[in-house]
């Protein structure tokens, strides 16, 4: 095992957490914020559907899906940028039956 610089480890965590906060804020905006302002947003239309309804039926769901794929792609890139292998599997995983007994 190799020791990792503290600053690097913290930068990694901060980067990941910032991205998650941004994704969740966008998710909140397209769902809760639209519902809270539904009446005001109903005046313009997307594909012939009033905006508040469009967002509930389609816009929010599509945004959620896109956010999850962006997260999956960006997270892999962040891992690589920091020099980690996101596909690393720990053979001595503490989740196997035998060693979970030992950890108690």
């Amino acid at each position: 095992m190799k020791k990792l610089e503290r600053a690097k480890a913290e930068a990694y965590f901060k980067y990941r957490t910032t991205m998650i906060v941004i994704y969740l804020a966008i998710g909140f905006l397209v769902s809760y914020a639209v519902v809270l302002n539904a009446e005001a947003l109903s005046s313009f239309r997307v594909m012939g559907i009033p905006f508040h309804y469009y967002m509930g039926a389609q816009g929010a769901v599509v945004t959620f899906i896109v956010l999850l794929f962006i997260n999956a792609i960006v997270s892999d890139r962040i891992d690589k940028k920091f020099g980690f292998n996101p596909e690393y599997v720990d053979k001595a995983d503490h989740s196997t039956v035998e060693s979970s007994k030992g950890s108690e």
Partner: protein, 552 residues
Amino acid sequence: MIVDGQFIVSLSLIVATFALYIGIAIFNTAKQTSEFYVASRGVPPIFNGMAIGADWMSAASFIGMAGTVMVLGYDGLAYIMGWTGGYLLLTFLLAPQLRKYGRYTVPEFIGDRYRSDTARLIAAVATIIISFTYSVGQLSGSGVVIGRLLEVNTAVGTLIGVVLIAFYSAMGGMKGITWTQVAQYLVLIIAYLIPVIFMSLQLTSSPAPWLSYGEVISSMRELDQDLGISEYVVPFTEATKWQFIALMFTLMAGTAGLPHVIVRFYTVSTMKAARWSGAWALLFIGLLYLSAPVYAAFSRFILMTEVAGSSIDNLPAWTQPWINTGQLSVADENGDGVLQWQELSIHNDIVVMATPEIANLGVFVIGLMAAGAMAAALSTAGGLMIAISAALSHDIYYRSINPNASERKRLLVGRYSIVIATVAAGLLALNPPGAITQIVAWAFALASGSFFPALLLGVWWKRANGPGVIAGMITGLTVTLGYIFFSQSLGIQLLGIIDTGAGIFGAAAAIIANIVVSLNTKPPAQETQDEVTDLRYPEQMQYKNGEVWLKE
């Protein structure tokens, strides 16, 4: 029982799909405990995404949701956004970390992270209550479908479902179920999309209903205005804005806290795979959820233009069997011999099942719908049974009662508990305590009041401790159950929030209780806190004694 062409086509489709599921289950019979619960962590993300989709999309999604949107209009969209938005909370905040912590079940994570056997037992009991409540809804849903289809009593239909679920859950375990559920996802999504695409070709001459249904919504606006009824897309006609928000939150947080969904993220090998599984899962689930409002709009439009306005003595042939079931009622109230829109009353739960008949799509599509509905109900019930069996045999029996139990014995206890739980849920489903969607909503409220706060703080706040989580789970469950009870039976409501939105109060109370009690009791041991810090980093890194190590 009437044996006609429709009956034969529907039955053969159901039998053929069941043979496929059971065949897969037998082929993959689990041999080891780890395979039984988590499929050896070898399921690729794209297939795991499909399995999550099948696990997730239940009788409520498949049979009930389009009807709910049709009947409630905009207010029904809280279900669409809530049930999809939950995957954001799950994938961003919980799944990768839970995957890294690496346990078999959710109660096991809670017990080990908080170093508390009491917390694990409370969580195991909560898992059983939530999954059991949810599976009663599924079994009564499958009873409705089998009953209507085979034209036998609903009770007989429920019993057929019970036998099937008990058989393949107990035989295959998680691995059998994972591959069975991939097959079930494909069956249910094809069954759901074909009628929508056919209706779209009929009504808008476009094969892409998601892009073309705007014109139907616009036409309905004129129809509503002519009838002088409240317009389809106008918000908050059925309940307050706060009920919409509370329901949406409850469904989101409940999704992120449902044990049978979270356990799916243990079946992958890395945090990366957990993130990709979440993304694929929502894509596959989104196909159905994006189509439900289309379904709702098309069905409402056809009912308004082709059924309403026809002579009461000359209604389309499909109406009679549904009128007989009591789910559809037509009454010529003003006695003019013509059925008006206002005189037509259709129950939420039959919209999807009746639509192929309404739109005259032919026997094959109708049979396919029945097979898809069965796939939805059975796959979710199967996942729920695994969660119950894991809580009983692993968290309660192995971790608390008999820690020396051999692997064979634990598997046996797991299989017996599936059979017992399925039969018990089936007996309750013969006489269900509420409508399918209502029972399901209670399960979500309970999950958002108990597991969501416990997992969120367990992963993100290292100061949270055993007494804190015990106080949190008990407070959350009490507040949720209390609010459901008070709003249901005594009519006491806050801001117009009814029983289905109870989870928002449960989650808030649980988070506050966990924080307050944790801060007033001893902080967790350094080792425990280090374990939580370790969850910040990918699989390859390990946090120990204030240093981060890179494994090679």
